[in-house]
Symmetry: C2
Amino acid sequence: MHADDSADADRASAVETARRGLCQMIATGELAAGQRLASEVELCERFGVSRSSLREAQKMLTVAGVLTSRPGTGSSVSQMSPREIMSGLEMVVPLLPLDRFLELFTLREILEGHVAAQAAAKMTAAEGARLQEMAERLAAADPSDNAQRLDADYHDLIIDGAQDEVIAALLHPIRKRGRDYRIFEVETHAALKDVSDQAHRQIAAAIVARDPESARFLAMQHVRVTRSWLEQIRPGPVLFSADSL
Amino acid sequence: MHADDSADADRASAVETARRGLCQMIATGELAAGQRLASEVELCERFGVSRSSLREAQKMLTVAGVLTSRPGTGSSVSQMSPREIMSGLEMVVPLLPLDRFLELFTLREILEGHVAAQAAAKMTAAEGARLQEMAERLAAADPSDNAQRLDADYHDLIIDGAQDEVIAALLHPIRKRGRDYRIFEVETHAALKDVSDQAHRQIAAAIVARDPESARFLAMQHVRVTRSWLEQIRPGPVLFSADSL
DNA sequence: TATGCCGCGGTTGTCAGACAATCTGTTTCA
DNA sequence: TGAAACAGATTGTCTGACAACCGCGGCATA
């Protein structure tokens, strides 16, 4: 409200000015979640920047998962769901060099251990049966066929079993990249799938048996094994499907 | 390489075209970490978009922690350090409504438990002594004084003790927001600081005693207690210092 | 020779204006 | 009554221009 904006704006760039302005409007509650923003030209006047700069600031907040905008309608504050605020990760993880990607595996190990333990504690008998069924279908599937898809579904079921959207939103982009390597499709490493299949069976069994600590240990071990495979194989840059970018 | 870019560009927006183009250059290794990008005008020609659109795409990747740009010099691919790729979170976390912020506490509980356990296993005797000393200084500090600063330093020491930059980069923005509430400075809740101080002493003692599981349990409990305080007090929007936006 | 200053070219940062594409609500006509 | 056409507003995109800034080479000077 004060007129001292100019003093701050002198040392802050125009885009920064606009970004801070938008952040303040959201942080103070002037703009609540789901609420529609003023039009770009109005915001330009308010912040004293050009439309280009304002749009760059909006794009920053869009990537951060705070804003969404639709043509013709306007921009609005997002619900800031866990999925949305982790959208930045979905963009970065596919771009990480292998070494950086492997740095994420300690986190992955802890979180996958956690969700497995939670699944063992919370899953219904029906869900557990379905999990075991999926483990068998996955074991029977051919590596080049839909095994990747089944593997994703199997692990998603466990992740969802923990009923924590934040952790799920963190794990999903990491797991998604791991899928892109398709190490089982290389003939030399086809035997590794048996080890993986066996781990899936054991984890499912521990969950059905309502044994959280065994499920945690097995899941963490499964992640550790996957990491060691990637470290040894050191696959080159993945071929990206259009949707992963 | 092919000339079918136009076919894809027809249904993708200009900014999306540019973003995908940049992502491909990085993912395929054409642009390695630390390498400098071509100038904006060159990239505009390459992708067939205007400079405005290209700049919006670059800003997206900058927020995601993939690019950095300096005036006069040019843009370059970042090292994608854990800190950088979590920069999006640093922007979002201060903007979350309280309910969304509280959703992060399960993750925080797991990770703070983990770092405390790791600290107990890895910390040197000297670091342990320093940790206990800091717990005492923090307990002796006045809430309105530099207690917040000491609290941050104490927990940072534990986090660093786990020697995992990814987890540290995840925890820091979350902890930073918690600090902004300054619940101990409200007279009604001043007594809570004693509970907190006692927890700090116990955690430090468990770490010095090289008892990872006790350290984990106490740290997780500390987080749970903090969450319950925030749930009960339900403080309003925080007053942001200039640097937190 | 060594050193500090200056200006040049290139790059990013910012702005203004214009037009296209899209959506929403209203109006109009069959 | 219903559907199509219209009008207004908003975002998406492009163009051109200029300012701010950086790095480098040349030049004058001690």
